[in-house]
């Protein structure tokens, strides 16, 4: 039973994530189209679903908080309030808070009550605000400005046992309470129920806890229980966070600041200044000596820690288009038919039927291949999922950096493997941050350069051959060749005498610790990030390249394999061993002539390919194998490229080209330098997939030793 429930809970968390995304996207769009009722409805529905579901699972904190958001949304929807930047800001903050609450519910961590309460208060406060205006950044003092006399009572009531014997019905009491206001939450306490054999049907064992929002005061509530007060266990709490003693003072539901501005006591700018001085809950508590700074920082730490394990608790799952499943089922049906046809044939096989057999085997092959493709297709999801976080990110960044940024997304429907999508999220975030922070200039600089004030970041995804390309493009200042070069020399990454191509210089920014930013901001500039981007992308078997024009902008292009599970490979032979070379890294294969070869003492061999000297690497040397051929003019040289570096790898023979399914070596063994993974070959034996980067590393170490 409990496992069943946890299963539903998982579904709830997953669905909530979707609703949260819907709400976030909606809110961001709302800024552009404030009057869009459809959009508001969609946001509202999302919030409503979360509220309903969380209530069902007893995540009271979540449902209560969502309720407050929902009320604001409802007022927006019914045009009682107008969408302003301030309100969307508040709603977005609330959304973040809601995310944390849901994560807390999942991990069982304690949420930051003060933060939740503060946001809840602000949500309630802004509801009272009629129409537009500076409901903006509602200050702490104004949190109390709820409509006059609204109380939120938490009532827990356990009636006396003899309740029924006196002819009283607990439902009547609850109804009466409901008549006084709105019951926002009702929970049954069945903790005192005895086992069935001891249960006396004429006794009342139950209790209730409910939350009531009402304009009436404590006395009226208390009076409901007049008849049963004596033997009841009754507590009525006037919720301190949400009761608003000062509300009685102000007869209008306006924030204090707003009234002050209206009456001319202060100016709007003075008010804003005051608001900016508004302190964080923690600081206030410390000042009032309620809590020590240590306690606060401890609590903050807990808050931030709470978010981390949540990720691990997520069970990976995937939502698949039913059409895809249906097609797959059809195919499996065909496969079953082919199989039964084959076994039918096998049971009474004669040599004369050989053509029939061959034909059916061919059909089986077709079925299998198609099923393989379809099953891989199930893992393919549109990249839009990974893009969806960026509108929010860019919005926050533009606020922080004081730049105007427009984000243009395209190619969201491009499909790629779910694992790839999950792994490119962070690198993409780094790149977008980088573009926003370093790439785009501040507005005045842009205007001076004759560009529009608003900078543009463009994210695009598209298929190219067997891989997917994702570009992050900005129309900012572009990379500064001299600055990067100077910095590179200063940091000892390159020597002054080195002659580098533009491409090689751009690649310097991917070195760990490299940053040309004059000042470090909290967004980027610390010199960490770009190297991580490169490492992550290469870990996925992809490449990063940069195109930049000074003053015009920079484009980062990520090239990734469509899927991590299958690659197109060239099978090659060295002596008795078979290896697979990823097709993507092969430029060409040649059989060199004697005069193309050169050997340099201590530096190894070189091969001249149309005027360019490439290092020659004998695979049998690197892997210590016994080759069939040791003369390069008789063997085959594969020209491989990785990260702009080229190398000629010598093998005995090329066997053919095939798709290979990548199997992990690390699962049962460990990583092997020069080997990217293993695969099962047609004859059932294991073949290794070469890792070109790793090969280069081995070769370098080898020559370093020799020299």
């Amino acid at each position: 039973m409990s496992t069943d429930l946890s299963h539903f809970k998982d579904a709830f968390f997953e669905e909530s994530q979707e609703h949260l995304t819907t709400i976030e996207e909606g809110l961001l769009q709302l800024e552009q189209r404030p009057g869009d009722i459809d959009l508001l409805n969609r946001i509202f529905r999302g919030a409503h679903s979360i509220k309903g579901n969380s209530g069902m699972f007893g995540f009271t904190a979540v449902s209560q908080f969502t309720h407050k958001m929902e009320s604001v949304l409802d007022q927006l929807r019914s045009s009682q309030m107008v969408v302003t930047v301030a309100i969307t800001d508040l709603l977005l903050q609330s959304l973040d808070c809601l995310k944390t609450l849901i994560d807390c519910a999942r991990t069982g961590a304690a949420p930051d009550e003060a933060h939740v309460a503060a946001l809840g208060g602000r949500l309630e406060a802004c509801q009272g605000t009629p129409a537009p205006g500076q409901a903006t950044a509602v200050p702490a003092a104004d949190e109390r400005s709820l409509p006059l006399g609204t109380h939120r009572f938490t009532i827990s009531w356990a009636p006396p046992r003899y309740l029924f014997q006196r002819g009283l019905d607990p439902a009547q009491f609850l109804k009466e309470l409901a008549g006084l206001g709105t019951v926002t939450h009702l929970a049954l306490d069945a903790g005192r129920l005895p086992v069935l054999t001891e249960l006396d049907p004429e006794q009342c064992y139950l209790g209730w806890t409910l939350e009531l929002e009402t304009g009436k005061d404590l006395k009226v509530i208390d009076a409901v229980f007049d008849f049963v007060r004596e033997d009841s266990t009754l507590t009525i709490v006037d919720n301190p966070v949400e009761t608003h003693p000062t509300a009685a003072v102000s007869d209008v539901a306006k924030p204090l600041g707003e009234i002050l501005v209206e009456t001319g006591v202060v100016s709007q700018s003075q008010l804003n200044q005051a608001l900016s001085q508004q302190k964080k809950v923690g600081e206030i508590l410390v000042e009032q000596k309620v809590a020590t700074p240590e306690q606060i920082s401890e609590a903050l730490k807990k808050q931030s820690e709470g978010a981390v394990p949540a990720k691990k608790a997520e069970t990976p799952s995937i939502r698949v288009d039913t059409v895809k499943i249906d097609r797959l089922i059809n195919l499996v049906g065909e496969l079953v038919i082919t199989q039964s046809m084959l076994s039918d044939l096998g049971s009474r096989f004669e040599m004369s039927q050989l053509p029939v057999l061959l034909e059916r085997v061919a059909q089986l092959e077709r079925n299998t291949r198609e099923i393989q493709e379809r099953v891989m297709g199930i893992r393919m999801v549109p990249i839009g999922n990974a893009f969806s976080r960026f509108p929010r990110l860019v919005r926050d960044l533009s606020g922080k950096a004081g730049k105007k940024i427009q984000l243009i997304l395209s190619g969201e429907e491009t499909e790629l493997d779910k694992t790839v999508i999950e792994s490119i999220g962070d690198p993409l975030t780094h790149l977008v941050r980088n573009s926003a922070d370093h790439g785009l200039e501040p507005p005045d600089e842009r205007l001076a350069a004759g560009k529009p004030e608003q900078g543009i970041i463009r994210l695009n995804a598209f298929h190219e051959g067997g891989s997917i390309c994702i570009t992050v493009e900005d129309d900012g200042r572009g990379l500064n060749r001299d600055k990067i070069l100077a910095k590179g020399i200063k940091q000892g990454l390159i020597a002054e005498s080195d002659k580098l191509s533009d491409e090689q210089i751009w690649m310097l920014i991917f070195k760990p610790g490299f940053s040309t930013a004059e000042k470090v901001t909290d967004v980027s500039g610390r010199g960490v990030g770009m190297d991580v981007v490169k490492r992550n992308i290469e870990g996925l078997g992809g490449t990063v390249s940069i195109k930049t024009v000074t003053g015009k902008g920079t484009t980062f292009t990520l090239k990734l394999p469509l899927t991590l599970a299958i690659i197109e490979g060239m099978t090659v032979r060295v002596g008795q061993d078979t290896y697979i070379v990823p097709l993507l890294s092969i430029l060409e294969s040649i059989q060199p002539k004697r005069e193309m070869l050169k050997s340099i003492v201590g530096k190894g061999e070189l091969v001249n390919v149309r005027g360019t000297y490439l290092p020659l690497m004998r695979l049998y040397d690197v892997f210590r194998l016994e080759p069939e051929l040791s003369d390069p003019t008789k063997a085959i040289l594969l020209i491989l490229e990785t990260e702009g570096e080229r190398v000629a790898v010598m093998v005995d023979e090329i066997l053919g080209q095939q798709q290979v399914v990548i199997k992990s070596m690390e699962q049962n063994f460990r990583k092997i330098e020069g080997v990217a993974g293993a695969t099962i070959l047609g004859d059932g034996t294991v073949g290794f997939i070469l890792d070109v980067r790793g090969l280069l590393n081995i070769a370098r170490q080898g020559t370093a030793k020799a020299a």
């Binding site: 690197v622 070596m665 049962n668 063994f669 092997i672 293993a678 294991v686 073949g687 590393n697």
Partner: protein, 169 residues
């Protein structure tokens, strides 16, 4: 699983009783008898050709495709510094699970599954065995047979898995 069920039935028939000791799958390397905890054994399969892994120590024989999983195969003779022999029809791969990793051990031949009482297990002597004693949990006595009980965790995690950098250098 099938292996385990089978062996426990067999040994019950042999011994008639179950004791509080453990069961060990025993196998031969040269003249000596070695044992591994039966719960570590996933399956036993006949020897098939493996794919060698470049730049690995000699006792890492290679990898094998075990129903779609890549499983490293360790040549126990080489690991223990014994001379290699021609493989025969008795040569088998004992597939064991060590710290959630699956590995295969090439041995000369498997023999019985033995119940060895705790009191019949003695600490390994410092001399006498052809094996580096640090890989032994102890010497077990079952009837007139002496069995060198292998410490799987020590044997197969020691060095083998961390040698990546060394081997590459």
């Amino acid at each position: 699983m099938a292996t385990q069920e089978l062996t426990s039935k067999d040994s019950n028939q042999q011994m008639g009783i179950t004791t509080d000791g453990s069961q060990f799958l025993t196998f031969q390397l040269g003249e000596e008898l070695y044992g591994v905890d039966i719960l570590r054994v996933q399956e036993i399969k006949g020897y098939t050709a493996v794919t060698r892994i470049p730049n690995t120590p000699a006792h890492i024989k290679g990898v094998l495709n075990l129903r779609g999983t890549i499983v490293p195969i360790v040549e126990l003779r080489t690991k223990f510094g014994m001379p290699t022999i021609e493989y025969t029809m008795f040569t088998v791969i004992v597939v064991v699970v060590v710290k959630e990793k699956i590995m295969g051990l090439v041995v000369d031949a498997v023999s019985d599954v033995l119940d060895i009482d705790k009191k019949d297990i003695q600490p390994a002597p410092q001399f006498g065995a052809q094996v580096d004693v640090s890989f032994l949990n102890g010497i077990g006595k079952a009837g007139d047979k002496l069995v060198a009980l292998l410490d799987m965790d020590r044997l197969l995690t020691d060095g083998d898995m961390q040698e990546a950098t060394k081997a590459a250098a």
